[in-house]
Symmetry: C2
Subunit: 139 residues, 2 copies
C-alpha cells in the first residue's frame, strides 16, 4: 500500500507553486531576500537522495543544473547553492538558490537566517517566475 504524494504542509506554507516539470513540483520560496527555487519530486515517501532511482535522480539533477545557469543569467548572481537538507522537513526537496555578494546571509548559508520576507505581491512574483521559466514548465 503506498500513500499518494501530498506536499508537506510546511513546504506548502512557505512557498508559492510555479508549476511542474517532468514529475517534479517547482516551488518559489516565499522570501524575496533571495531568488530561491525548491524542487520536489512528486513521489510519496521520498526522504533521502538515495531513495530516488537513478533515472529520477539524473533527471532531477539535470533540471537543477539548468536552473543554476538560468538563475545566474537572470539575476547576475555570482554563485548558486544546490542542496538537499531536510532536517526540518523530511519530505525530499532540493533547494536551488542564487547568491550574490552582500546578500543578507553572504557568504553564509541562507537557512535559518532571520525571518522570511514574503513577496509583497505574490501573484506578480508567480507571474514573473513563470515567465522566466518559460519552456521549462509542463504546459
Amino acid at each position: 500500500m503506498s500513500t499518494p504524494f501530498t506536499l508537506h504542509p510546511r513546504l506548502a506554507a512557505d512557498t508559492l507553486e510555479l508549476g511542474r516539470h517532468d514529475g517534479v513540483l517547482v516551488l518559489l520560496m516565499d522570501d524575496e531576500r533571495w531568488p530561491w527555487l525548491i524542487l520536489v519530486p512528486t513521489e510519496p515517501d521520498l526522504v533521502e537522495l538515495d531513495h530516488l532511482d537513478a533515472q529520477r535522480r539524473e533527471a532531477l539533477m539535470g533540471f537543477a543544473a539548468s536552473l543554476t545557469a538560468l538563475l545566474r543569467d537572470i539575476t547576475g548572481a555570482v554563485k548558486t547553492n544546490v542542496a538537499t537538507l531536510g532536517n526540518m522537513v523530511p519530505q525530499f526537496h532540493l533547494h536551488v538558490i542564487a547568491r550574490s555578494e552582500g546578500d543578507p546571509a553572504w557568504p553564509g548559508p541562507v537557512w535559518g537566517q532571520g525571518e522570511a520576507r514574503p513577496h509583497a505581491d505574490r501573484e506578480a512574483a508567480v507571474g514573473l517566475w513563470r515567465e522566466r521559466l518559460t519552456g521549462l514548465l509542463d504546459a
Copy 2:
C-alpha cells in the same frame, strides 16, 4: 590552454584526503563534530553544477547517493545533507554530511557553526574512514 587541477588551499587545509573514486577526490572534513565527506571532481575550473557535463554529474550524484546510504548505516544518522554551496571556496565541491538529532547544529545547517573540532588522531580517522569506504575508493 587549460590549467591542471589543484585542490583549493582552503579545502586542502580543512580536510584529510581519503582517496579517489572515478576522477573524484574524496575528502574527510577535519571536524569531528559531524561525519562529513567532501567530493571534488578533479577537473580544473569547475565552479557550478552546470559546469559538469551530464556524464560526470550523474556519476558524481550516484556516488553521493551511495555515500548517503553508507553514512546512515555506519553512523545511525537520521538524515544526510548533500549540498554544493561554494560561497567561500569557489572550486566546485559537494558536501555529504550525516546529521543526527542533537548534533551541534541540529536542525540548522552545519556551515559557519562555531569552530571546527579537528580529529584528535588524524591518522586513525583516515584509517577508519578508508576502511568504511572499502570498495568505493580506487585501488
